[in-house]
């Protein structure tokens, strides 16, 4: 079970129009990335938290757990950005190595903190989308952007098949575990590769079976289905667009210290 997917379907914001949600989420994301301002990041972080947890009714603990996922990457790369390697004598030297020094400067520290906060805020924007808008709705929005039909078809199919294979894969892992297949590292590697191999075989068999049943319903190369989503309600979309733009302008004029990028 993929938890983000589950939260998206159980969110109180699920039924809101996907166009406006996407507009708002992506709009805020762009503001985060463009401004790189600590204050803006903090504000957006709080707005998204409020939307997802207070209005969307996602459990706070689950949300916290989600926030931990990108931490590994964030911490490692931010440390890399903050600390410099070289021969500069004037900087605040932390460690001296044979060939040079590892040091940080005020500028690199500021940049690191900015980067950390703004990335974290952008992640909350992504989460806002991910846990309030089911994937099916998102694909629907992409469809109305006139992406090539084949891309849309593939997205729908891959989304469905992910869960089909995930179920099989998980079941196989559990069955292996029941027979002590993950008792130590060596066994684990063997079990994992066997699982990967058999999952591939199963994927192939499933594709065959599904094709057969699709043919029996008259599939002849053109995958046509109807969807339930309603057209964007124009007023709602305009309101969301206005809010996002306003946010952007406020950030730009009052807080914006747009870095030269």
């Amino acid at each position: 079970m993929i938890m983000m997917d589950k939260w998206a379907y159980s969110s109180k914001l699920r039924e809101r129009n996907p166009y406006s949600k996407l507009l708002f989420g992506v709009g805020n994301l762009l503001i985060c990335v463009l401004c790189r301002s600590n204050v803006v990041s903090l504000c957006i972080f709080l707005i998204m938290l409020a939307l997802v947890v207070l209005i969307g009714k996602m459990p706070f603990r689950a949300y916290l757990r989600l926030l931990c996922i990108p931490l590994i990457f964030l911490v490692i790369s931010t440390i890399t950005v903050i600390f410099e390697v070289g021969h500069v004598e004037s900087a605040k030297i932390l460690v001296s190595l044979a060939g040079g020094h590892i040091y940080m400067t005020k500028w690199s520290l500021t940049r690191g903190i900015q980067l950390f906060l703004s990335s974290f805020a952008s992640v909350t924007c992504l989460y806002f989308l991910a846990v309030t808008t089911p994937v099916i709705d998102m694909i629907q929005v992409l469809r109305s952007l006139h992406l090539p039909k084949i891309v849309i078809e593939l997205m729908y199919l891959i989304y469905r098949f992910i869960f089909l294979l995930l179920e099989t894969g998980n079941a196989i892992v559990v069955a292996q575990d029941c027979r002590l297949g993950y008792k130590d590292r060596k066994t684990s590697v063997q079990s994992t590769s066997k699982m990967a191999a058999v999952l591939f075989v199963r994927a192939y068999q499933k594709a065959d079976a599904l094709f057969c049943s699709m043919e029996s319903r008259g599939y002849d190369g053109d995958l046509c289905v109807l969807s339930t989503i309603e057209r964007p309600r124009v007023p709602e979309v305009i309101v969301m667009l206005a809010i996002t733009l306003l946010e952007g302008i406020v950030c730009y004029y009052f807080l914006g210290n747009m870095p030269a990028i």
């Binding site: 994937v135 029996s216 046509c224």
Partner: protein, 308 residues
């Protein structure tokens, strides 16, 4: 499972308004006309395995047919032949008096008349959500979008699963998946529906639901062919039983005659239905009077009713 509690109520009448429009002929009229005629059908897989051998069958309109036989005996192959997914190596299939043609139009026509509900819904449902899934068949028939929308809504209503409309397929339970798989086919308004072990792996609640649904379809005049392993069920439900083994039709006859045949039962690994056992025992013990042409009740329930 709240939604389903309503189901067993007085809905039966309302349920097949969708189908009644189409099949407005009274049932009795239809019975007897030949729906499908299979002559000398042979099917051989690419690898040379012979899956069907000299199959001859006539299926009448509105008939209830159970196909029995061990796994791998050729039932699924027969279904896929009937639906035009497999092209027979030899022999011919006539549907509604016309031979099946294997060009695009011929197949489209065939698939509108005959639909298959596959055994494992996970091998049938390919769409991300229920509405899309059910709309696939009707869209392939080339109907207008509005017509398709209406059909899907109407099928959802008939099966009392409107609440599933926007549900993503992967959130459905096994029983719900089965219902959607059936809706898939009903939305194409076929005249014949082939069910491949529709209640396998379902719990008794959903099995009952599916069995009731099948009964309603039959009442609405649809020809239903079911592959099943359940002797009790086949005895109770079927007009005729076709026993297949190793790709050959062993026998096609009424349930009682099929199950009374001890040799056949042994050969095709058919269990004797409980009701038949009981009936024979009661006859022997002279609790039930035996006439010259004894007709066994169809189920234990019927037998009990008779005794009372």
């Amino acid at each position: 499972m709240k939604e389903l509690k309503d189901y067993k109520g007085g809905h039966a009448l309302r349920t097949f308004n969708l189908l009644d429009e189409q099949y407005h002929k009274p049932v009795c009229d239809m019975h007897g006309d030949t729906m499908i005629e299979i002559k000398n059908l042979n099917y051989q897989y690419e690898d040379g395995t012979v899956a069907l051998q000299n199959v001859n069958l006539t299926i009448n309109k509105g008939e209830k047919i159970a196909i029995m036989g061990p796994n791998g005996s050729g039932k699924s192959t027969l279904f896929l032949c009937l639906n035009g997914v497999y092209k027979p190596t030899n022999g011919s299939i006539q549907v509604n008096g016309e031979p099946v043609t294997y060009n695009r139009n011929g197949l489209k026509k065939l698939r509108q008349i005959i639909g298959i509900v596959f055994q494992n819904p996970d091998n049938q449902l390919f769409s991300a959500d229920v509405f899309q899934e059910i709309s696939f068949g009707p869209m392939n028939l080339g109907l207008e979008k509005e017509v398709v929308r209406e059909r899907v809504e109407s099928v959802l209503e008939s099966l009392h699963i409107q609440h599933l409309k926007k549900r993503p397929t992967h959130f459905l339970s096994g029983g719900q998946k089965k219902q959607v798989a059936i809706a898939d086919i009903l939305a194409m308004k076929p005249e014949v529906i082939l069910f491949d072990e529709p209640t396998a792996a379902l719990d008794s609640y959903h099995s009952q639901l599916v069995n009731d649904l099948v009964d309603e379809l039959c009442e609405a005049g649809i020809t239903v062919i079911q592959a099943t392993h359940d002797s009790d069920y086949a005895m109770a439900w079927a007009d005729r039983i076709i026993v297949i083994q190793d790709g050959k039709v062993l026998v096609k006859d009424t349930p009682q005659k099929v199950f009374e045949n001890v040799e056949l039962r042994k050969k095709a690994y058919l269990e004797e239905p409980n009701v038949l056992k009981m009936y024979n025992c009661l006859c022997k013990a002279n609790i039930i009077e035996q006439t010259n042409n004894p007709i066994c009740p169809k189920s234990i329930d019927e037998l009990i009713k008779g005794l009372e």
